[in-house]
Symmetry: C2
Subunit: 227 residues, 2 copies
DNA sequence: CTCTGAATCTCGTGT
DNA sequence: ACACGAGGTTCAGAG
């Protein structure tokens, strides 16, 4: 990884056009060639960047009186990032090697897995038909049948907001056209449900349910203990 | 901005839990206190981070035999980021000052402006009634009248996806309650429309249209040349 | 390969 | 403060 601290101006032209006036910033060039320009504050996201694959060419500015250097970064999509370095304050390179990568736990996929394994935690007598049950407009998280064998479509979210209710409503609209499934009931299951989402869901006849991730893990381990 | 290159392990516990095995990485501490951990490749996004405001406390690990150092970053939300530095390879600090910020051009707002100025680029004989026409549930991008003076509600997107169709559907539902407007037709205009979004739109009787940003700019400049 | 949906989304704007 | 929508979204996973 090469780290350059420099007073610079930047111009990006690609999916949009963007410009950075002259200031001191960090230029980060990673081993795979991707380039990122960071300011000293604000977000973790860089001000500008160019992902790999790309080509970086370095040249002097023939029009300039001082010794400024121009970096031109081009990618196969025709996007360009032009960095004019007016003054270089630091330029260091460090070898780092490949990163073993991030291990995550506790995202929506895990919640969905736990619920698929324990549908009765949602509703007594509930049985799983399929995870990611396909419809013409995308897959429903869980399709189940309740104790009366009626279909229940379940949308799982970490945080339940209005767009999740919209999503489930669309699925229900399409699922209810299928005579083998009709009538299909909707359930909105999340670790947290925003008040507005709850209002909209209830207005549409969709049941809401808040579940606890750690409790569910407990349920699962309890079941494992039985064997 | 402080830049530390170190062999380290990282544990994040907050909205999810995540762990990074030992490897050499860049630790970036910005002037506002935010911390980011970068690998030497992949995305511009850091592997782990903690936004400002937060507190960084540095301490030795009393249990360790070597001289490892532990950084503990805490934010008011109770999230923690624990970085164990096994070996520090570089540690530098640079003053950068405030960044003047990014100037952008070519986003959805510009597309909407161009279409508002040239409604006939969407449909022959189309006249603009109002941009950001208000309804009880939010403003419609463009409200127009066609050659037969019937109302047309237009949703403008850079990339047309299902959400946009939902949005327009909601607006149409409310606009069609207004006897002065009824019947209101819907049009979904974007630089690119995803197939599933097109299916849903057509299912709802909404017309789709793909427009080109650069062409529109050309139309505009053509009109300007007339004067 | 495309397409869909999640994200520690982030970031702005408006109320 | 919260809700809503856009993003050079990025990113991973399934068909």
């Amino acid at each position: 990884m090469r780290l350059v601290v420099a007073r610079c101006t930047v111009d990006y032209d690609g999916r949009l056009t963007a410009h950075l006036p002259e200031a001191v910033r960090l230029l980060m060039v990673k081993a795979d060639g991707c380039v990122a320009i960071h300011a000293d504050g604000g977000a973790y996201k860089p001000l500008n960047w160019m992902n790999s694959p790309n080509t970086l060419t370095v040249g002097d500015d023939p029009k300039a009186e001082d010794d400024r250097v121009i970096w031109t970064v081009r990618n196969p999509g025709g996007e360009t990032l032009i960095i004019t370095l007016h003054e270089v304050l630091s330029d260091e390179t460090h070898e780092m090697g490949l990163d073993p990568g991030l291990q995550k736990d506790g995202v929506e996929a895990h919640l969905q897995e736990l619920l698929a394994a324990n549908p009765t935690a949602i509703l007594d007598g509930l049985r799983l038909v399929r995870r990611e049950y396909p419809t013409d407009i995308g897959p429903v998280d869980l399709l189940c049948r309740d104790a009366q064998s009626e279909a229940v479509a379940i949308e799982v979210k970490r945080r339940g907001e209005i767009d999740g209710v919209e999503q489930l409503t669309r699925y229900l609209e399409f699922l209810n056209r299928d005579p083998l499934l009709r009538p299909v009931r909707g359930m909105f299951v999340a670790q947290e449900i925003r008040p507005q989402a709850r209002v909209l869901a209830e207005d549409r006849g969709i049941d809401c349910m808040v579940v606890d991730y750690d409790n569910l893990r407990g349920v699962e381990s309890d079941e494992l203990k039985l064997f």
